[in-house]
């Protein structure tokens, strides 16, 4: 049963011409107008249409309104209430949840005899409700659209009813022309309109039909109305498999049919559009054939095979629609609506290789986007560096993590095993910039780090010396010195970094180690004169600058030279330091790995690095012009790894020792955010309030790390060294690096194993379960097999073997675990763990001096602890920077409810 419609359809159809679909005469009511989607979409539709929404409904929301630029749209509890208030409408738009849609449609039809159109936006309306809604509307002479559609729009009438066709800026897509669009896809309704414009075609009426099982306003009635619409000269139909809606279509005007979804024939359930699930005779191929038969063509239209007739063309790619339409319209003697606007070629708006060398054909360079997007993208350049969302960083880190399976920790996704292949200075830079420096970058970093190592005459050295003399542990001595390196000590360099950032942030310079024309910036940066230049010459600054420039290219240093010449000043030391750090960090800033806060604060970190290494050497090693016997100028050319060795051992390193020392420091970098040292650093940041990064005191944060090391954490490396000294003190071992050392390791190890076996039994017999354990063998994870290996120790052993570096103490440890098994002390062969590696490296370096009596056991203990502090400084600097950029104020606190009272 249905009302009599406009034509001889077997069901009611009320639309005679497409021009009536969305017209200025339509007055609209919107169900659930204040819902999330409607409240965003309806104002745009209302404004675009000149104010066509008369009211909206929302149960219990009477008296509220939806603000729009065309005035407030009143909201009522129900249709009845709205109509009682005097509003009249002929169109209902439904944004209700699926279960309420049918009732909403029934309400609109019952309450308003003048209702002519209902548009259902809601997705996932059940088929049962859909068929009932249709029946209600058919009986009462109402055209129904949807569900799961985006409604209708008309470029000529400037009216949009229902959903968001054309998005938030309908004028961009709904350009007046001669082509009507009917699309199963709401998104493609707009996308096709955009594509058509690139070939010079605009639109009349656009219909998003939805693609549920029921399409209430289908292609047949659309074509009928097309034929009656003088404005429309052609139509585009976008169809998907499922349903017989397109079968038998005939039109007086040309049609481009786009049928997509051959693959859907294999679907057993819907994916995408609910109704896009075909049976045996309504799959994509069947639909293609319907259109081919109608057009009288044998093939699908493609640019390579442009098959079409006056009646139209069949395409299977929406990108082919504009060209096919043009060809068909030519056959019909019709001209373009307007000059083509743009084209559909590939246009990359954003792109980065992020260091990957791509083949030429894939290395598409970004181009300027179309307006208004071009302007928006340009504005993005004002945002420099990473933008990181703040979150609670208690026990969490964006810098480090430990893999619980392998026990190998990582910093910025680089395992400490790999990091141990890098120089100390490279890791110091990497921890903060997230990228390893180039060779020339490393040389520049060495120059600025070494420039501040010699603490002669500095209060930091005095503080360290006083602390040392008071009998403090190495970490406590470091605290005394680092506490002196407050913000003001680095302020000039940070001001300079800020200035360089301001000068270069809007340029296209991405790699400061490559050529870049900075001349135009020199004059424009006059405002930064005070931050970058000194009135008087600074010989030290000039020396560091010369050293750095001799090592490689830096746009920032070159800029400073020219800037000083232009403004008749002298480059300050702070500016040189800032320029070097900017050189190291700029690519990471550009690729959003680090924030601009980090870039500006790098000189402060650098100054503390230098201080911590410097004061490791006793006061008498800091002279006016020499550090540990090396001239200050010469030191600038040193690797910072070598400097750290020098400070620690008081002598220069051999090449082999330098490598072993680098590995030693690399292995210590981090054990993840859960370690006490990292927790100390993070707690210190948290307490300063990272939400205002300027408040975070870097030196205090490193003090947090230092105070969270001690004789049990960091200082315990000596335990293994002491054990080894005990084993070798009576031997004739002279050079631990000599494989022909003459010590019978097998016998020594077995002797010890037997002794230990007896000792253990004896102690157990006495009921002493706290008997001495052998340090650095066994591991809670790497255990249980017949022969156990700590993969980290295995890795380092192989590394040394490959380099031809022998270590008698490590060799002894391997014999020892075998002997312990043979002596039945252990049930299987224990692993030699990573802590042993650290101990044996250090002991090997100091053995010779120890043997000679030049150093004592306490010196070894001191060096062992200090070496730990050097290595862990890398990881903790990374944690501090990460927490500063990512954390929230006081986020490391533990709620009282999670604390226990055990008194």
């Amino acid at each position: 049963m249905h009302k009599e419609g406009v034509a001889d359809f077997p069901y009611y159809v009320g639309i005679n011409s497409l021009s009536e679909l969305a017209s200025k005469e339509d007055k609209v009511v919107v169900f659930n107008i204040l819902g999330k989607e409607s409240s965003a979409v309806t104002p745009v539709s209302h404004e675009y249409s000149g104010g066509n929404v008369v009211f909206g409904t929302g149960p219990g929301k009477s008296g509220k309104f939806l603000p729009t630029k065309k005035g407030k749209i009143p909201v009522y509890n129900s249709i009845k209430e709205g109509m009682a208030a005097g509003h009249e409408f002929n169109t209902a738009v439904v944004y209700l949840p699926p279960s309420g849609v049918k009732d909403g449609v029934a309400e609109a039809v019952r309450q308003n005899p003048k209702l002519k159109k209902v548009i259902v936006l809601t997705e996932k309306v059940s088929v049962k409700d859909s068929r009932i809604m249709r029946a209600i509307c058919q009986t009462n002479g109402v055209d129904l659209f949807g569900g799961n559609c985006l409604g209708v729009a008309d470029s000529w009438n400037h009216v949009r009813i229902g959903g968001a066709l054309g998005g938030s800026h309908p004028d961009e897509s709904l350009i007046k022309g001669s082509v009507a669009i009917f699309s199963n896809s709401g998104n493609f309704t707009t996308t096709i309109a955009v594509y058509l414009a690139t070939a010079g075609w605009g639109t009349t009426t656009s219909v998003s039909s939805g693609k549920d099982v029921y399409i209430h306003y289908g292609p047949q009635e659309f074509i009928y109305a097309l034929n009656n619409d003088d404005r429309s000269q052609a139509a585009v139909l976008y169809c998907e498999p499922g349903g017989y809606y397109e079968q038998g279509i005939e039109s007086e005007k040309p049609i481009i049919a786009c049928v997509v979804g051959r693959w859907k024939a294999k679907l057993t359930k819907s994916c995408g559009h609910a109704g896009s699930l075909s049976g045996s005779g309504d799959d994509a191929v069947a639909k293609e054939n319907w259109f081919k038969d109608y057009f009288g063509v044998k093939d699908i239209y493609t640019p390579q095979n442009p098959v079409c007739s006056k009646k139209g063309a069949l395409v299977t790619n929406i990108a082919d629609i504009p060209e096919a339409l043009t060809k068909v319209m030519e056959l019909n003697g019709k001209k373009l609506d307007f000059e083509p606007r743009g084209d559909l070629s590939l246009k990359c708006w954003f792109g980065s290789n992020n260091g990957v060398a791509l083949p030429k054909e894939l290395d598409i360079q970004p181009v300027k986007a179309i307006e208004p997007y071009r302007g928006q993208i340009e504005a993005l350049k004002q945002q420099v560096g990473a933008q990181i969302n703040r979150e609670t960083m208690k026990d969490a880190s964006g810098a480090s993590k430990m893999d619980p399976k392998t026990q190998v920790s990582q910093i910025h996704n680089v395992s400490i095993l790999d990091a141990s292949n890098q120089l100390f200075e490279e890791n110091l830079v990497f921890a903060l910039t997230h990228s390893y420096p180039s060779a020339s970058g490393t040389a520049m970093a060495n120059a600025v780090l070494n420039a501040y190592v010699n603490q002669h005459g500095q209060p930091s050295l005095a503080a360290a010396t006083a602390s040392r003399e008071a009998g403090n542990s190495p970490n406590t001595v470091q605290v005394a010195a680092v506490s002196i390196i407050g913000k003001k000590k680095a302020q000039k360099a940070m001001d300079a970094a800020e200035a360089l950032l301001d000068v270069f942030k809007l340029t296209d310079m991405n790699d400061p180690e490559k050529d870049f024309d900075h001349q135009s910036l020199v004059k424009g940066a006059a405002a930064h004169k005070d931050a970058l230049l000194d009135a008087a010459a600074d010989a030290g600054a000039a020396k560091v600058m010369d050293t750095c420039q001799s090592k490689g290219k830096s746009v920032f240093l070159d800029f400073l030279s020219d800037f000083a010449a232009e403004h008749k000043g002298h480059v300050s030391m702070g500016a040189v330091v800032a320029a070097v750090w900017a050189t190291l960090a700029w690519p990471s800033l550009r690729s959003k790995k680090i924030t601009k806060t980090t870039l500006v604060r790098l000189p402060w970190y650098g100054l503390i690095y230098s201080t911590m290494v410097g004061i490791a050497a006793p006061e008498d090693q800091h002279g006016a012009d020499k550090f540990c016997g090396v001239k200050n100028d010469d030191l600038l050319g040193y690797s910072f790894t070598r400097t750290a060795f020098l400070a620690l051992m008081g002598r220069d390193a051999t090449e082999g020792e330098l490598f072993e020392f680098q590995v030693l420091l690399g292995l210590i970098i981090t054990n993840g955010p859960g370690t006490i040292s990292a927790q100390g650093a993070k707690g210190a940041v948290s307490a300063d309030g990272p939400e205002q990064p300027d408040h975070v005191q870097i030196n205090k944060s490193l003090i947090g790390y230092l105070t969270h090391t001690g004789f049990a954490h960091g200082g315990n490396g000596y335990e293994a060294a002491a054990f080894l000294i005990d084993q070798f003190k009576d031997s004739d071992l002279k050079d631990p690096a000599d494989i022909k050392h003459g010590v019978d390791l097998e016998k020594s190890a077995m002797d010890y194993a037997k002794w230990y076996s007896n000792y253990k039994k004896e102690q157990k017999g006495l009921g002493n379960l706290e008997y001495a354990k052998i340090p650095c063998v066994n591991h809670p994870i790497f255990k249980g097999k017949d022969v156990n290996l700590d993969p980290r120790e295995e890795y380092v052993s192989k590394l040394f073997k490959d380099k031809g570096l022998y270590n008698v103490f490590l060799d002894f440890y391997h014999h020892l675990v075998e002997s312990l098994f043979k002596a039945k002390v252990t049930k299987n062969v224990y692993c030699v763990n990573i802590d042993a590696v650290i101990a044996v490296i250090l002991l090997k370096m100091m053995w010779s001096d120890y043997r000679k009596g030049a150093i004592k056991e306490e010196n070894i203990e001191w060096a062992s602890f200090m070496a730990f502090l050097f290595g862990r400084m890398i990881g903790c600097a990374g944690e501090i920077d990460d927490h500063t950029n990512r954390g929230k104020n006081m986020d490391t606190r533990t709620p009282a409810s999670k604390c226990a009272y055990v008194g």
């Binding site: 998005g167 309704t189 998907e240 979804g261 995408g272 590939l346």
Partner: protein, 422 residues
């Protein structure tokens, strides 16, 4: 969401008291089978497939026996039988024993929502028991009816009259077939098919006994839940991934997924039903999944979808391909933020993965969304290219496929090295 066969069909038919053949499930004892043979002289043994499976008879998957030995033999043969149904290989788990129904007439009957009439329609013929597609149109009656009043006796009567059906079958069918509308309409069905209905003569009159059953449910209609069918009846052919995503199915935002190729190397979160149809077609076997995440999903839902999708598919993927047309109302910033955060989370949980990201999109807050995703990818060290809606979607798809080919031919190692992945 389909049911085939009488194991569950009998329970549904009993709800509306529609007559059916005598059916026992796989749990039937030897004594029960013996009793069935004695009563019906002949027993059909049919494998139990979950979901919609057609043309079993043609594939030799229906056993027929008149003695216990043969029944048990057929049971053994068919219990775990496999069946190639289109592209799907399905496996049986159990059998039904169905009493033979001697009859002169076999009837085909179905109800579906018919897109030609845009109304529910009955299809009926007294030339049943065969594939309905093979019958000429003049031997079938397709009768649309008003969904508000439902299928009525006169619809059946008129249809059978018009077909020239034997008069003796008309009355029993007129009395019983309208009951099936209640089953169809009250439990959220999209299709209900009985083929064959055998017209059994009980000595007094003909009774239409349903001898096979097939139905499909509308997953957007919760009415089927009233049937209290076991959960695994409909989840059997969903992969774990699909099941996990399906749990997020709410009306705000789509979350449709379908596994295309377990060995695929491009994972393409796709936005919009149209894009879903087109992208999946053009990616072909390169795609891991087909998806539609359009409909303006809120951040939380899109973030959950991303995490699940990445968990299942990123480890094997070379290209993460985020693709859609010019969105009308999907907020690009919200969706890209959700995807970017999901990717970051994935890297934090599972470690970095060598990946290339290709994006083709337009819509509200586009540049803001692209900028967020760009920053995320930069921070993760992932190479990428983003294209706006002024690039043909098919060209963007071709670019993604070209990147994938390069990745397969060594590019993956290049990215691995650049991202410091071991």
């Amino acid at each position: 969401m389909q049911i085939t066969g009488m194991l569950w069909g009998r329970k549904l038919l009993d709800l509306v008291e529609f007559p059916r053949s005598d059916v026992c499930g796989p749990e039937a004892s030897v004594d029960e089978i013996k009793e069935m043979i004695q009563k019906h002289k002949q027993v059909f043994i049919k494998p139990v497939f979950k979901g919609g499976v057609g043309k079993k008879g043609k594939s030799g998957l229906i056993g027929r026996a008149d003695n216990l030995t043969d029944v048990l033999k057929e049971k053994e043969r068919l219990y775990f039988a496999t069946h190639q149904d289109g592209n799907r290989l399905v496996k049986s788990n159990g059998v039904t024993f169905e009493g033979g129904v001697p009859a002169e007439h076999e009837v085909y009957f179905s109800i579906t929502d018919n897109t030609l009439y845009r109304a529910p329609a009955m299809t009926i013929t007294h030339h049943g028991g065969v594939d309905i597609e093979e019958l000429p149109a003049d031997k079938l009656a397709v009768v649309p009816f008003d969904p508000l009043t439902g299928l009525k006796a006169f619809h059946v009567s008129n249809a059978l009259d018009s077909l020239g059906a034997p008069t003796e079958i008309i009355s029993p069918l007129v009395q019983n077939l309208p009951k099936l509308w209640d089953l169809y309409n009250n439990y959220g069905m999209l299709m209900l098919e009985l083929n064959p209905i055998r017209m059994f003569n009980n000595g007094k009159r003909l009774i239409p006994l349903a001898c096979d059953f097939k139905c499909a449910f509308d997953q957007d209609d919760p009415a089927w839940k009233r049937l209290h069918l076991p959960d695994d009846l409909f989840t059997f052919d969903d992969s774990e991934f699909e099941q996990e995503i399906n749990q997020l199915r709410t009306y705000q935002g789509q979350s449709d997924v379908y596994v295309i190729n377990n060995e695929g190397t491009i994972t393409a979160p796709t936005f919009g039903g149209g894009a879903n149809a087109m992208v999946t077609e053009l990616l072909g076997e390169d795609a891991t999944i087909s998806s539609d995440f359009g409909g303006n999903p809120p951040y939380a839902k899109m973030n959950d979808i991303s995490k699940i999708t990445f968990k299942y598919w990123l480890p094997q993927s070379n290209v993460l391909f985020i693709i859609g047309g010019k969105a009308n109302n999907t907020d690009i910033y919200e969706t890209f933020r959700a995807i970017g955060d999901g990717l970051k989370w994935h890297f934090q949980q599972y470690g970095p993965h060598p990946l290339f990201v290709v994006v083709g999109r337009g819509g509200p807050n586009l540049v803001r969304g692209m900028a967020y995703l760009r920053d995320t990818l930069d921070s993760l060290g992932i190479p990428y290219r983003f294209f706006g809606h002024d690039s043909a979607m098919s060209e963007v798809i071709n670019y993604a496929r070209a990147v994938n080919r390069w990745m397969l031919n060594g590019g993956k190692d290049v990215i691995k090295k650049s991202m410091n992945i071991q």
